[in-house]
Symmetry: D2
Subunit: 336 residues, 4 copies
């Protein structure tokens, strides 16, 4: 870490910081300038940096090292590739996770599963437990929804991804799902991250609406450090001042995450924009940027959907999207 | 709700919307202008508004009613006052919740408890379960920390507030704490909200770093709707583009929450700024704005604190703050 | 507009609002519900909506109409196509505006002009007047820089785009430039917008770092309303909480602007990310999303650049980008 | 500055950076750790820091010094106090700048001037040139408005503050006004800052809606560096994701600016909230936090105001506010 002393700091304050850092095993390099003194300290900066910031005479402390390790590209240079019964995430083939926001009924989920499979998806997405802003909104079918998802898998051969909202349900959801999804609001639900880390199923970790890249990667680090390295990151839009779109979809997440980590990155243009009319353009953009796949909401009848209708594609629009995506995929050396 | 039709919408699309809304029991008022047709629809708009937004010819749907009910000032005009063994929150007396970020050791918590009590606090704050961005940071003492908090309460007579991070721990934490805190990152942890709603202890609900006032009130609505109406709201800063402060403390939360709801509002200037030098000014501002109290981090030796040292007051600074606060309290007709 | 009355509003308050609106020529539709009364008012809502919001008994006023007219897709359905000496912006051909952040010297600008021309650009970008956060930073060569740009145009046949920072310089800059750029910080510099509206040169209007789509389109409306309809919009990233990238490049601007307006949209991935390593990925994404072109910073020696080195491509990287872009362009039916 | 090298950087890259920095006159301190090499470089970092960031092997560059000098508390320890004909800004006495958003007519401005004077204001605020989002909104009375302001000053003895929107009008506005206001949207209008720096009138510089504290202080540095050190800073709310309030009023600006600079700080709770019901609470908070005064919108008939009605106090509400403020002022050792 770098400790910048106040210009008013005297020798006593400088010695105080230096002694403390040396006592904790840091190797020290001192730079005295005209305006300020800078103390470079090389060692384990995890905890000490905030403490040093409050020592007398200290103006600020700048951390040097990245706070994440196992998720980083430096730690593991090759891309993480996740193989779920032959469906590969993070490889040359793009993966499309498609389906409705929520499981609403047996007919609904079976029909949509067939349609997205025909369209080209290999993974069915749908929520059984739904995080809803209002206690008065539809909260999902719960375990019944999970059973319907399993039935849809059996009928179609699609893999199933669905959200798990708390540690208590991890075991239950893992029984039915092929990939566990951690929703954006739970990105820093640390007990959930710790529980899911002990699970053997792959995890899709959505970026929190106000999470920096670093915080997001740190959340992945919780899961990897806990023993589960099958982590897929999913950008789904961040919260900004713009209200025309539901969120601001940050496609720069794709090259940034690829540069900083070895994990696959998926884009969710449905939550990322909140408007189905924008989903196709943003999907094409995502794949051109290098994303490993998409998570897209598709509903046979969006105006009857119990949630997220405005951001859902019809199966026809979904088919149109896939056709266009194939062109882009070819140009960026991916299959679909 | 108000449905604004596209200027290109024909009679068929208008009829489609009107028929659907009437079928669902809405009372309809139609306004045909030169540029657009507007459909006013009075009824239960909880679910239908997003569905209607996707109907053919619809440009946008504007909800009219507030989505929260039991938390609203219209629902209950008098202020909610919470009495915990004679310590009143939301009444004429201001309440100060003070203590370290985390319980670190028996000596640490007992000493700081005595000091904040002497300073004027009636409630001790400290974390036993700590939500930390990094898996490598100190995660709290867990149940051992809860026991030390209980010991501090016994020694000092202070009430204890501490954070609960998941539904599974609610019972355990409720055994030791007088007030359960829901942290900012868990504001929309809906399973936790539902579990805590069944608990008989008062709940302090922190505003999420990217939560609107409405979303925050909706989270309170979850708790009230679930059966627990002892909800205290706590503003602790929102995430903005400014990085000099850890968060941007939004003091307008005080008059806004007082206007929209009947719930008490507490300000946390420590997390709200991340810098102890700013805590006194923001505390004075908070009380002048009408807050019902403060939650402040105090540590006997901030530069040795295991977390949040830079935002912690020393006991001396805390005493100074309380003295100043008393002056402001008197002017705004509050006691301290 | 829609006026939502407070539930406590009586007949007198309702009449007050209705009478005022009728007096101002609005056509009124009244909806009385159990919880609230809603007044639909069709007419010119430009000014009155905020005034009505303060009338007794009014809870809120919701505007219905879009505040912009001439920039809107409804006003003019066909895409605006701008032809500058045969270089077409907004048509089938993609346009690349490339060059250094600033004109630094004769050698620098002439060399880079040749290189970007070879690479495939038809428009040279470079600043002569530079808006810099610090008064101590390089402020641009001023008129001398404009002359060098003109020389580069003569030598290469490239068109020149450069920024104009105030109304006083519009005439001077227009003398040398083919396209006038309004920088992000000046998006709501209304005197500048009004002056430039009287100029006959095309204008590239960058989105302000904290501007909503609507505010951005309103700024374009100022220029069109003032008499200049050759407006090109340029997304260059918005300010968010994320600090790893210089800004958050909002690619959803492309389909949104195409939907709401008839104006061409250009993406600036250099300012949008602030990191040259991200420029290629975001450029490919931008074109796949439907952008009409790019504005990219290119410098022969980024580590000697007087500004924006970290976000500048070398000519080699620029050539690599163009090659990749050609593949994407073909898929989305564009030429490059 | 601190240069952090990539872990993959070899001796050649390290030497490259060291040599360049030494060539430019920096004093170098090298720290080689196991994971990374850090180069501390003491010297003038204004320009070079971004250039070094692009050198081979460099991971990141951390600036050490504050980029502003003359505005800083280190440069001048005593508070800047501005005396305008005996009205002192930045001293023990609080100053209230009150009046309508815009000069609308002779009667309007004369009446409101009398009322705010009676209430306790010593400075009249009102716009003659109005920056409006829409070209179709009222744009102000222009020079006619300035003349009416001068008449109001003559009648009441109030000082006049009004906005100047471009360099061309500085001379004209300075002829009529006692304090020149730079609006939030113009905070980084550098030509305007440079022109106003040559003017002898005090300047009130509003914080841009997306400006960091550092950028705001840098804008003040432009004015001071250009020769005018009578700069007053005014916080008026920043743009965030919250839409209930027009902006998010960042009261932490008060202690932060007092800590980092020697300049007076004024709070504008009218723009800061956009709702008159919140103005009193936020005004009390602002003064308790240590602000040197307020800028408040007051209109005799807000529901007839041509702009900003919803955030304007009536004269009665203004009187009520002042009475309450006097109590707070006394507690924080200020006069009103």
């Amino acid at each position: 870490m770098i400790v910048v002393m106040r210009s008013s700091a005297g020798q006593k304050e400088i010695d105080g910081v230096v002694n403390r850092l040396e006592r904790e095993g840091f190797k020290i390099h001192l730079s005295k300038g005209v305006e300020t003194t800078i103390i470079g300290a090389v060692g384990d900066e995890t905890r000490l940096s905030t403490a040093v910031a409050v020592m007398p005479g200290v103006e600020k402390v700048l951390p040097i090292l990245k706070p994440y390790k196992q998720a980083s590209r430096e730690f593991k240079n090759e891309d993480t590739i996740i193989d779920i019964n032959g469906v590969i995430i993070g490889g040359r083939e793009l993966q499309i996770m498609a389906g409705p926001c929520a499981v609403e009924s047996r007919d609904q989920i079976l029909e949509i599963a067939c349609r997205v499979k025909e369209g080209g998806a290999k993974i069915l997405r749908a929520g059984a437990f739904k995080p809803r802003t209002s206690p008065y909104s539809f909260q999902g079918l719960g375990e019944e929804g999970l059973k319907l998802l399993a039935e849809a898998r059996e009928k179609t051969g699609l893999l199933v991804i669905t959200e798990v909202m708390d540690g208590e349900s991890v075991e239950l959801v893992a029984e039915y799902a092929d990939i566990l999804q951690i929703g954006a609001r739970n990105m820093q639900n640390f007990p959930l991250l710790k529980t899911i880390a002990k699970c053997e199923k792959p995890v899709l970790l959505k970026r929190g609406p106000a999470a920096t890249f670093e915080e997001w990667i740190m959340a992945a680090e919780y899961i990897i450090n806990g023993g589960n390295n099958q982590v897929i990151l999913c950008e789904r839009g961040i919260r900004t001042f713009e209200t025309y779109t539901r969120n601001t979809l940050d496609l720069s997440a794709v090259p940034v995450i690829k540069m900083l980590t070895h994990l696959p990155v998926i884009i969710d243009p449905s939550h990322g924009t909140g408007r189905w009319e924008l989903v196709e353009a943003m999907s094409l953009g995502a794949i051109a940027c290098g994303a490993d796949g998409l998570m897209v909401e598709v509903h046979c009848n969006p105006s009857e959907a119990m949630s997220d209708g405005p951001q859902s594609l019809t199966p026809e629009n979904f088919n149109h999207l896939i056709t266009k995506l194939r062109g882009i995929a070819a140009v960026v050396d991916r299959n679909l």
